[in-house]
């Protein structure tokens, strides 16, 4: 669609038509996802009432699918801020039409991930004990525990990314507010925060946006580093490693980019956004994915090398177990899906082919889930005392919660797609000629 002439008014029109009354498929999808969420919620209720024994965990493997999926979703949440904040500071142009969706992936990814520590607790009704609050007995959380750092990291990230998300939307929401009626006008009016688009407002707004971007940038690095320290700070073989923080951050961005591609492709078809999200945008994301695949692959190989080079018998044993033990398929799946399959993107034809983009992104999403699974489950299943080795089982309620979390994420995203603009109008317009340009 090279001859499609983009203008300010055309952009407003194209990017607000996404909010029109949805078609039937939308209601069907929302209902199906809602049922998935209900399955997960029912499983959780059952687990709370019966005890966490209804999940498949046992004594050596006390951390299982919940923590795996928790780390997975925190990882998914990482590309959003990377695209919106870091690429903004570097003035990367192609980010402008994809960053809104990527930020939504961040916020909803965190909203999903944040549930898992609660799901995982044996006594969820006392979850607030992990927060520092004044209490008569003087009880306080243990600040040496990486789990407490996690609480701070995740809540900070959720707060900052939500503020960044909503702030970035203010001028766009103002456009919608001007057209809306009834309760919608009130909702968008609140979100637009009295935006009139005056010069003074723009001056403050752009300054604030840079500050927020700078504030969010370190979080991209810090949050997943802290999540990785949940593992690296304990002396479990295969966890206790200094490489974990950069390794997890790279993996997080890797899976996050794959999820953004997976979300953008159907969205652009559904809303006819081809002039805004072009093949060039997807190709840029694919190049980025190739880069993170190389970083992640490097980390995998270094881990194996260090296990051999360190002469640490525990470390060597756990890597042999990962490769040839009970979960060999997960170990090899992560090598194939995360490292080898993305190598297709060296070839331009594959980077610009929608079926291949989808294929690689699905592979990376699966591979990154299995990466966390391998790290968490194999290490716990084979700790230091061979007598205590054991394997967990798979139960319906645990699967329901994991599947329900995926439904919950896409459910939130579908609601977002019909209530808020999925592509930033004001940033797209910044790259267009102003109206009357070149005319006297």
């Amino acid at each position: 669609m090279t001859n499609y002439k983009l203008s300010y008014s055309q952009t407003d029109l194209d990017l607000t038509q996404t909010l029109n009354k949805p078609k039937r498929w939308y209601y069907v999808a929302v209902t199906l996802l809602g049922l998935g969420v209900a399955w997960g919620a029912g499983s959780w209720l059952y687990q709370i009432l019966t005890g966490i024994g209804v999940s498949g965990k046992n004594n050596p493997v006390g951390w299982y699918l919940y923590i795996t999926t928790f780390v997975f979703w925190v990882g998914i949440a990482h590309s959003g801020t990377l695209i919106s904040a870091i690429l903004f500071l570097f003035r990367v142009k192609w980010r402008s039409s994809v960053y809104r969706s990527a930020e939504a992936v961040t916020v909803f990814g965190l909203a999903t991930a944040g549930l898992f520590p609660l799901l995982h607790m044996g006594r969820v009704w006392v979850f607030y004990w992990t927060l520092p609050y004044p209490q008569m007995g003087g009880l306080f959380p243990n600040f040496r525990s990486p789990l407490v750092w996690d609480v701070f990291a995740i809540t900070t990230y959720l707060t900052v990314s939500s503020i960044f998300f909503l702030t970035g939307m203010v001028p766009d929401v103002a456009i919608i507010r001007d057209k809306a009626k009834g309760w919608r006008k009130k909702l968008y009016g609140f979100l637009a925060q009295g935006w009139q688009g005056t010069d003074n407002q723009w001056r403050h707004y752009t300054a604030a946006y840079v500050f927020l971007a700078a504030l969010a940038t370190p979080l991209v690095i810090s949050v997943h580093s802290i999540v990785s320290w949940d593992f690296a700070m304990s002396i479990v073989p295969g966890w206790h490693s200094t490489i974990f923080a950069p390794y997890f951050v790279a993996g997080a961005i890797h899976s996050g980019l794959a999820m953004v591609i997976l979300i953008l492709i159907p969205m652009r078809n559904a809303f006819n956004l081809h002039p805004y999200i072009t093949d060039h945008h997807l190709e840029s994301l694919a190049k980025f994915l190739l880069f993170t695949a190389t970083v992640v692959g490097f980390a995998y190989l270094i881990e194996l090398f260090i296990a051999w080079y360190s002469h640490n018998q525990w470390e060597q044993a756990i890597f042999l177990y990962r490769a040839f033990g009970d979960y060999w398929f997960a170990f090899w799946a992560l090598f194939v899906c995360n490292l080898l399959v993305p190598q297709l993107f060296w070839i331009k034809r594959f980077r610009r082919s929608i079926p291949f983009l989808v294929f690689v992104s699905v592979a990376v999403t699966i591979g990154m889930w299995f990466e966390r699974f391998t790290i968490i489950v194999t290490s716990l299943a084979h700790e230091y005392i061979p007598f205590a080795w054991g394997l967990p089982t798979l139960t319906w309620s645990e699967m329901g919660i994991v599947v329900g979390s995926f439904c919950w994420f896409f459910f939130l995203f579908l609601l977002f797609a019909k209530t808020l603009p999925v592509v930033s109008m004001w940033e797209v317009k910044e790259q267009l000629d102003p109206p009357m340009a070149g005319k006297k």
């Binding site: 019966t50 966490i52 520590p117 044996g122 992990t130 009880l139 789990l147 304990s234 002396i235 005392i385």
Partner: protein, 229 residues
């Protein structure tokens, strides 16, 4: 300040499992259904590590009792988000059940898988639910528990010693597993007191500890068998 430690003489140990049973009764440890136990959810504080070596008929069964090692530098206490497990000044690694949120981080961090978890509402033997040991509080669903070196016995011993205004005598404070051991394979006491049996035995040439290369300094010492295998 005393520092409590245990020595288990594997040359004397017959592997009868009396220590496990005594511990279970002493500490009101819940009973777990057999199929749950097969799934790795058995609740024991004094475990019996059992391995069978060799091929039939030349098999050799090894049994090693494994309580919590009460590490001097415990990896489990560092990671607890709410401080529900901590090392007290006398070297006991304690667990506060009512503070536990059930995240199982300590279980993951323990190199020796010494902790148990209440996966369901705990159950006791039919009819025995009202005759448990009144000195030990019962645990509830969703909390981690583990060997306490029978610290409730230490409370009584301390009270007596305080009344009589003296130090605790060697062998005065002993856990239930030691009392029940028919072979006297378990020795318990203050390792800081060089005259105690525990201190003497911990300096034996036969001594080894699990995870000595991990730097966690377990306070349960094993005396290796003299016979080799």
């Amino acid at each position: 300040m005393p520092k409590w430690a245990m020595v288990i003489d594997l040359d004397k140990c017959t592997g009868c499992g009396a220590c496990s049973v005594a511990c279970k009764m002493e500490n009101n440890i819940p009973i777990v259904d057999p199929e749950e136990a097969r799934n790795g959810r058995a609740m024991v504080w004094m475990d019996m590590m059992t391995t069978v070596e060799g091929d039939y008929p030349n098999t050799h069964v090894k049994r090693v009792p494994k309580p919590c090692f009460h590490c001097d530098d415990p990896p489990c206490t560092l990671v607890c988000p709410v401080g529900a497990t901590y090392r007290n000044p006398e070297g006991l690694v304690a667990q506060i059940y009512h503070r536990c949120i059930g995240c199982r981080y300590c279980m993951a961090a323990c190199p020796f898988t010494a902790k148990s978890f209440n996966w369901y509402d705990p159950k006791w033997i039919e009819g025995a639910s009202d005759v448990g040991n009144p000195d030990v509080s019962r645990r509830m669903v969703g909390v981690v528990e583990k060997c306490s070196f029978c610290s409730h016995r230490l409370q009584k011993v301390k009270e007596n010693a305080d009344i009589e205004d003296r130090q605790i005598r060697d062998g005065e404070y002993v856990p239930a597993c030691l009392e029940s051991c028919p072979a006297d394979a378990i020795v318990f006491g203050d390792i800081e007191n060089r005259d105690s049996d525990v201190s003497r035995l911990s300096r034996s040439y036969r001594v080894y500890r699990y995870g000595e290369d991990l730097g966690v300094k377990p306070k349960v010492y094993y005396l290796a068998r003299r016979t080799g295998s």
